[in-house]
Symmetry: C2
């Protein structure tokens, strides 16, 4: 095992994509959590090589992604675009590095476990390819809460609508939203057809339409029969994580003008009758979940209030009025923390415990 002077014997960690939206939050999280790592090496594209970023209170120089960049590394977190992960994760794995990949490249590979530590921690050991995948941020925003309810009630069907934050599309998403906000503030826009679109012009960034003063029912790339890649991810990943390969899942992903923190409405049907009291008891005690649910007192989670926090927040817990086997939930979580960097860090810690 590698490791710097003061941390000899601890596993060495690489963060690939340290300069990105997820990477930035990863560095914060690594600075806040129990310090189990020896060296932390920061890797990004050659464009960023030489930049210095703070982690654990120290400045660390970013190195370019090469095969040699993995020398002496035990665990590598990949926070890079799919195609970069697809190419480089096997390179790192071939050197004996355990890769925890946050991209979409390997999530549905049957030889790659898809892990949420609160839900299926043991799957982390089945890493036949030396790669463990981190679910997409949309799935992660609800799966801890759902997993806890599934364990008690047995999930039978899901209908989900997502309110996706701009940072789900990376740094470019955030920059775009902020730029668009400045274009519409102080105007009377939003009242005649296409006026927002004309004001925004080609400044749509990674989104197909303006997201400011708007909601956009599209995220990702087209898949079969009109579904988007983001919607198909939620279905496939939820089934894989919960071990329910036939679970009916209907998802609609809609982008909203929120910087960070995804929200989802969930209609979940279970094996038998459920009660709100029991559901609330489960959610109130599930690790990683906060139940915040008292609308009469103005208590329900919103993205602007949960951004920057670790848990999955759940509110608006109701039983369907016409179906005693179904629950309605409003779920909210930071897509860059539990939805991404935090879950990756948690997986890496499971791996480290395994290596020790």
């Amino acid at each position: 095992m590698a490791g710097d002077a003061g941390r000899t014997g601890r596993p060495a960690l690489a963060v690939v994509g340290a300069t990105g939206a997820v990477g930035a939050v990863m560095l914060q999280i690594l600075s806040q959590r129990a310090d189990i790592w020896g060296e932390i090496r920061l890797i990004a594209s050659p464009r960023s090589a030489g930049r210095r970023l703070a982690v654990r209170g120290e400045e660390v120089e970013v190195v370019a992604l090469t095969e040699e960049a993995f020398d002496g590394i035990d665990v590598a977190l990949f926070d890079v675009p799919d195609e970069v992960a697809e190419r480089w994760a096997p390179v790192a794995a071939a050197k004996g590095v355990v890769v925890v990949d946050n991209s979409g490249a390997f999530r549905m590979d049957p030889d790659v476990p898809l892990v949420v530590p609160e839900v299926n921690p043991h799957a982390v050991r089945m890493r036949r390819r030396g790669i463990v995948a981190n679910p997409s941020c949309t799935t992660l925003s609800m799966i801890v809460a759902l997993g806890s309810l599934h364990a008690e009630f047995g999930l039978r069907e899901l209908v989900v609508s997502a309110y996706l934050a701009a940072s789900g599309a990376g740094r470019a998403g955030v920059t775009t939203l902020r730029q668009q906000l400045s274009l519409v503030a102080g105007t009377e826009l939003g009242t005649s057809p296409g006026d927002v679109r004309r004001a925004v012009g080609d400044r749509t960034g990674p989104f197909p339409e303006p997201v400011v003063l708007n909601v956009v029912p599209w995220a990702g790339t087209p898949r079969e029969d009109g579904w988007s890649s983001e919607e198909m991810k939620v279905r496939g990943e939820t089934r894989k994580i919960l071990g329910l390969p036939e679970l009916p899942v209907a998802v609609t992903c809609v982008r909203v003008p929120v910087v960070t923190a995804h929200a989802l409405t969930v209609h979940a049907r279970f094996e038998g009758e459920v009660t709100v009291d029991k559901a609330r008891e489960i959610l109130a005690t599930a690790p990683g979940v906060v139940l915040f649910d008292n609308p009469e007192a103005g208590e329900f989670p919103t993205p602007a209030d949960v951004v920057g926090t670790d848990p999955t927040w759940v509110g608006r817990v109701r039983r369907a009025l016409d179906d005693p086997t179904a629950l309605e939930l409003f779920v909210c979580g930071d897509n860059l923390r539990k939805g991404s960097a935090l879950n990756t860090a948690q997986i890496a810690e499971l791996v480290a415990a395994d290596l020790a």
Copy 2:
């Protein structure tokens, strides 16, 4: 019948609440549609009496709401708060005026028809109390599209999530959103817990939380078992309009930072197997519906593009992957036009044809 000089013989119309968010759009709509009315009288609170507003290219003076204000009036459109409608609609009706009420006061009254001209036009005649009710804007944003699919396939269940625009909460909602936009534009807000809430302070207007850079899972007032009044409206009204008193309907209403035009994701289960081709054929030819659905070409409706237009826009039509009897839709409509003023005007025209 009353009527001014040039329009003798035509029915006389009153717009009660002419100075409000809905009222303003009503005056536009009355100016654009076939001119079937004699006098158009504008009524509001005593606060507004004496103000002059333009309708049909003429300036008309607003009069205060009194019993005498209905003298000579045949049809009165009520665009006022529930409690004002509750008190004054029976007063007008007692004078023989047919009231078309846009508030929530009478919608679920069994003696008051709840009418969507494209869906249940004949119900307009069953006005035992002299009052016809206009559905809530959330219901109206989807019901024309749903009605057309129901007529063909037979609806069996609905799961709906709403993306509600600020103007659904009246003029105060719009003012509040615009003010909040100015507070956050040019800032880095939206990245730490509660930073938006602190910047907005008590400037939340009619909303329980900031709506800018946020989505708020609450609209209306608390009802039994954690449901909001807006959610219960959608369920009750949809059942009444479609004549399906037992229809299972699960709704979650969420406010989003959009000025005008509500959007909804709809999961609709039907009696038997459905096909996307047939659904698209129905939606493409249904009166009042525009099918705008080609995501590969970037075609789906968004609030910013449909605001100010009359139809119900439908996109993202898919069959549920795990249930051949269910369709997924993304529906969008202007809550102040079809969602409110336009439908009211259409109902009034049905009444006028009846009176003639």
